[in-house]
Symmetry: C2
């Protein structure tokens, strides 16, 4: 791809703000030659962080925004009163076609509400869904997409079908999976399990010849590579995501504490370092940073609030790839086809 893609960064968002986002931006320019960036936020702060840094000024510019959305600010308040926030201005740049995508590490609820207001939904999609990327045990290249990770609660079967169609497109266009295997997250693999919405969704999915629907998977199969795209309501997806994070953190904490307490084990650390680094590399949350809101008329990537430089760069990469592949355009054109024969039976 030789076309230049411009990504607007909410440079004030996240737990670390511009101190992390500016270096991440400069690093991303080195990594991705087709990338241009607009740093949106307090001009004085941003320019001071760019002093003495070497970068191609034709590929990076600062766009001033006088306000910023606090991490704990109610979304409705941010939407109503922060019209010159770095988040909102970055989204406006996407709406106006000046940027092809936007990345923010800021307040998730505010980003969702503002993105929906500024960019609007694509035709055929009722609600934006948050899609994430997770590792699998198959190998370090095989990953799984899970959506919705928390944008919606109380999704209907039709919403879930829209999520499936969008997940299919991302898995195919971004992850390069020829025919993504789509599964529904449930509490059992049998047809009789689950609530009414999931049973109804399963029937809708099965009736879609354009989707490679493989049935139900349980949450202990998220990482086993059984499916390429796992679809669920946002409440369920968020619970599963956080449970996974909590388990990983707990195990690491216990293991570290146990090693610290044992002289013998501390002696083993140098022997273990290559293994720990390899494991870390494969499961480094930084590698999976950058969940995306799908279904909007524009690419919006949400970085983890506490992302450091590498993680934020990965979020920029997700945005770049989606803009290059024209994911919103693909969703718009294909969802129409995919969902065509379900309009009568759903809703």
């Amino acid at each position: 791809m030789s076309t230049t893609i411009t990504v607007a960064l909410d440079a004030m968002g996240g737990d670390h703000g511009p101190k992390v986002i500016v270096p991440a931006a400069l690093s991303a320019l080195d990594y991705y030659p087709q990338l241009s960036l607009i740093l949106v936020g307090d001009e004085t702060i941003l320019k001071s962080l760019l002093i003495k840094k070497r970068y191609d000024t034709s590929r990076l510019r600062v766009h001033h925004a006088s306000e910023q959305v606090a991490m704990d600010e109610p979304p409705a308040q941010a939407l109503r009163y922060k019209k010159d926030s770095s988040m909102r201005v970055a989204l406006n740049l996407v709406k106006d076609g000046i940027a092809g995508a936007c990345v923010s590490a800021g307040n998730t609820g505010a980003l969702l509400a503002t993105a929906r207001f500024v960019l609007k939904m694509l035709p055929g999609i009722d609600r934006p869904a948050l899609i994430g990327l997770m590792p699998t045990t198959v190998n370090s290249e095989t990953m799984v997409r899970v959506l919705d990770l928390g944008a919606n609660i109380d999704s209907t079967a039709t919403h879930l079908l829209q999520f499936a169609a969008m997940g299919h497109i991302v898995s195919h266009a971004i992850d390069g999976v020829a025919t993504p295997r789509i599964a529904l997250l449930n509490i059992g693999e049998e047809e009789i399990k689950g609530n009414e919405v999931i049973k109804q969704a399963s029937q809708l999915f099965a009736a879609q010849s354009s989707l490679n629907y493989i049935g139900f998977v349980e949450a202990n199969d998220i990482f086993t590579g059984k499916a390429d795209v796992i679809v669920c309501d946002g409440f369920i997806g968020n619970i599963a995501l956080k449970a996974c994070e909590g388990t990983a953190r707990m195990l690491l904490q216990i293991f570290k504490a146990a090693i610290q307490k044992s002289i013998l084990a501390r002696l083993a650390i140098p022997f273990l370092l290559p293994v720990l680094n390899k494991t870390k590399k494969q499961f480094d949350p930084a590698r999976y940073n950058g969940a995306s809101f799908l279904g909007l008329n524009g690419v919006v990537v949400k970085s983890h609030g506490n992302a450091k430089e590498v993680a934020f760069r990965m979020a920029i990469y997700q945005a770049l790839r989606q803009a290059e592949q024209g994911v919103p355009q693909q969703i718009a054109s294909r969802v129409e086809l995919t969902l065509a024969n379900t309009q009568d039976r759903a809703s």
Copy 2:
């Protein structure tokens, strides 16, 4: 406690059946002097496994049952046609007062349906809930109770309140927590998050002066020891439980594979063994085996289907403790008090 407690074991259930359950039973008799056991199942098989084993015949006897419930048998079918199954007969022994508790590693759905049919619900409790025990990072003695882990879907706010009251009793009576901190599992800690049922449940919980309700926790806080009892709908609880299992299995698998591939790391194994054993001991699923159905008029403990000897013994221990503490009786008498002032507002 010097009173003898008799526990009936569904000796044919689970992936390994009597080959694991008989040795687990004999081991439990050694561990718990106040325990007596009834092995329910095929007399010929069970007696052959007891030949040449040394045990106190006054504390262990075999009770014949001619049938057994298959692990994949539909619950309704088991309930209707397997009236002499080892599972059903073990539950009958509880109903008839011959045993004070029952343990099965068999088909969860069939156990739930049959237990509900045979033992009936306690007054004031609409649905049985599956409660489990999980580790925390606080220390190896501090654990957390989570319910419902999958007995119910689409729980109402009133059901969740009943789960909270039952969880309180188990945490207090079995785990020895003086004033259990009760939390609701949600996708955010803010009051505005979550679906209508959870918001309504939160109000019900807060209005209960007999419950030490601390508000919402997210799924990444299950293991941090913030709460002693975490309450959720069974669909959510099952998703969270399986997500935790899947994550732990994935991390272990990746770590093991990485060690195997590295000669240096293999050299470190002897140094690491004490640490790995300590970590394993703290997080050994066997230690947490034995989820219990609460709300029934009798103690029913569900062992993991693939439980080995130690794990099944832990399930027997859970049953013994609940029978000793009279958990169903405590639930019956205290739930009435606990829920008294909510009958008008709930339903």
